[in-house]
């Protein structure tokens, strides 16, 4: 089985599995209890906060959540905003931000969408036009989940802070953290969302960075865990595994990036011969994602055909009738048959060049077969 859909989720690393097991069986204590065993568990959580903060290079705090989506929700809904103020999000944000922004629109905020180029990157000059002194929040994804485009968060945040100094800047770092270098001080980010399961740790766990001095209100109420910002007993095992995964990913980040860049380049080069293929990932995008669209075979059909050959890939479009995905196609200015033709490959530490070779061979064979019948 070749798994090229790692932007959707990753297989847990062995160390993650061991840590989770340890915390489910031996160190299963509730971190909020007052006896020694719990205090030890709590210390463990604190150490993970420090690991994450160090890798983010940020001044602030970390709260643990149930995943990237919840982190985005707490950031957008919970942060202090000027009533009726302007909120800018990019047109191709992940649904976790996009749908939350729609909700804020319903609640009376002036939500506007920043256009992106054909590779899914926010166009700075267009973004600038949307920035007014009324901006209260901007949320721009760090690495786009569909195309891998890396947004220039530093420039975007500077533009916002210059015109609207009190505005907050949030970035969804779910596809970035653990995969590319992050420097929140440089980026000028007030809130940053992360997810564990995209980097080899379990599902159901994420984190939100909140910069010093930024005021956020909870959206879930209860026992007051995570400084009252996210009540609910912490998913201790997953958090501990997350910490370990962060360390592991950053320890050999350069090697991983080099290896994955090679895989990506190999595939891109070998698929370039396909007539009419349009790559949606720019060369300077995250090496972990390669998206492209073909006019003759629909992405979903290709996905199912490859599935039969033991290759799992992602698709930009689940189905023509699925509106959620046509939004992304529209944002990327895809036209006609390209809208449904999107395939997304996404890589992780386990992937090899051998797999890339098999993939290319199989893909080209399937494409030749299916393109006879048209999209």
């Amino acid at each position: 089985m070749i798994f090229f859909d790692n932007a959707s989720t990753t297989k847990c690393t062995e160390s993650s599995v061991e840590i989770v097991k340890e915390y489910l069986t031996e160190k299963f204590y509730n971190p909020s209890a007052l006896y020694h065993e719990s205090i030890e568990v709590k210390k463990g959580l604190e150490s993970v906060r420090n690991v994450i903060l160090k890798r983010l290079r940020g001044d602030g705090k970390i709260i643990f959540t149930a995943g990237g989506t919840e982190s985005d929700n707490i950031a957008l809904l919970g942060c202090k905003k000027q009533k009726g103020g302007r909120i800018i999000v990019s047109a191709n944000e992940h649904a976790a931000v996009y749908a939350t922004a729609q909700e804020l629109k319903q609640r009376g905020y002036d939500v506007v969408f920043a256009p992106v180029d054909n590779y899914g990157k926010v166009i700075i000059s267009e973004f600038e036009k949307l920035v007014t002194p009324q901006v209260t929040l901007a949320s721009i994804i760090h690495v786009n989940n569909e195309t891998g485009a890396i947004n220039d968060i530093q420039s975007l945040s500077k533009i916002v802070k210059k015109v609207a100094p009190k505005a907050l800047f949030h970035s969804d770092g779910v596809q970035a953290f653990g995969k590319v270098e992050v420097n929140l001080r440089q980026m000028g980010v007030d809130m940053y969302s992360m997810s564990a399961h995209k980097i080899g740790a379990p599902k159901g766990c994420g984190a939100l960075f909140i910069a010093k001095g930024v005021s956020v209100n909870p959206i879930v109420f209860g026992g007051g865990q995570e400084g009252g910002l996210r009540s609910s007993t912490e998913n201790v095992g997953a958090i501990m595994a997350f910490g370990k995964a962060v360390e592991e990913r950053y320890t050999c980040l350069a090697e991983t990036q080099a290896k994955i860049s090679q895989i990506r380049a190999y595939i891109k080069q070998n698929l370039s011969s396909i007539e009419g293929i349009q790559f949606l990932s720019a060369d300077d995008s995250s090496p972990y994602i390669l998206s492209f669209s073909t006019p003759k075979v629909r992405g979903e059909v290709m996905q199912h055909a490859l599935e039969r050959r033991g290759i799992l890939v992602g698709t930009g479009s689940a189905c023509a009738s699925n509106k959620a995905t046509s939004r992304i196609a529209e944002a990327l200015s895809l036209k006609g048959k390209y809208i449904d033709g999107v395939t997304r490959l996404s890589f992780f530490i386990y992937n090899t060049l051998d797999e890339a070779e098999v993939f290319v061979k199989e893909y080209l064979a399937v494409y030749k077969e299916l393109s006879k019948y048209g999209a």
Partner: protein, 390 residues
Amino acid sequence: MEHNYNCILIRFGEIFLKGNNRNYFESLLIKNIKLALTGLNYRFARTQGRYFIEEFDPNDMDEIISRLTKVFGIHSISPTVKVKTDLDEICKVAAAISPKEGVFRVTVKRADKRYPMTSMELGAKIGGYMLYHTGGRLKVDLFDYDFELFVDLRESGYTYLFYDKIMGAQGLPTGCSGNAMLLLSGGIDSPVAGYVMAKRGLKIYAIHYHSFPYTSELALQKVKDLAKKLTPYCGDIKLAVVPFTEIQYAIHEHCPQEFMITIMRRFMMRIAERVARKYECGALITGESLGQVASQTMQSINVTNSVVTLPVFRPLIGNDKAEIIEIANKIDTFDISIRPYEDCCTVFLPKNPVIKPKLSEAIEYENRLDIDTLIDAAVENTVMETITVE
């Protein structure tokens, strides 16, 4: 004293009409009731014209009633308190289960004619006791009342007291009209068509055409989920999944685009008939509704119908979409049907399908294909699966 509803009374409907066949119908109905109640503990009892579910866990009562309301052939259901026919006991129960205020009447049915009082006398006696023992806030009015207590004295020496009559699914016991093969697409109409025909006593078999890789595993799962939703009404359903991609390729390659759907449907009907005969189905069922889409015009139906000799039941032919959706909601299939997965009818969809196809043209184009070989291969690779009642 606390009195629990300890017996569920089942009345059956139309099968009364069936004269000599009554034993056959009843045995089917009983079998279907028992199938519907699979996994629950209870005792089944019957007397002349009535069935009883007894000795069940009181916590299961709502579940039992919910399942019974989906069994075709049942007219109505009542949760009852069953007591020995003893007037003092009957009166006590009546007072205990009665609402404590409002206007009521007591209706007594005395099947046990040996009992020394008439129905009227009994009603008066029981009603009097209720008035006296419920705190004085009840009133009697035989014509304008809020609730009606039924007291049923049976020959068995037991009496049943109840208020509610819950309507059953009506219809005929599933299976009494034979087997039929339902073309189940994944859309809104076909499960409804299956439900409607099952109500007339047909045992439903289903056939689905799958176009991997053009349709996904989720599309197939959707069809299985739809079939599952029908099982409380229809019992277990045998589902035939037919690989259809090769046939679509062949049509796409050799026939004019606008005839794609027409010819595709002719293949579907042929395959359905082949599989139907194998499972001794005497008819095909489709969810067609006249004029709904291009393939459901009178001319299209004529062209697709002409390849089969089995009768084709189209119970929704005269229904509007809204009427079909109403039933789909009632049987809980609507939410599944609108899951956004493509089915085999939407892939290779031509821009302008022919609305009034001519039979001669369809035959002419079709003759470019090796029809028998394509059908043989599809039938041979058909996978059968049984979708069981929960």
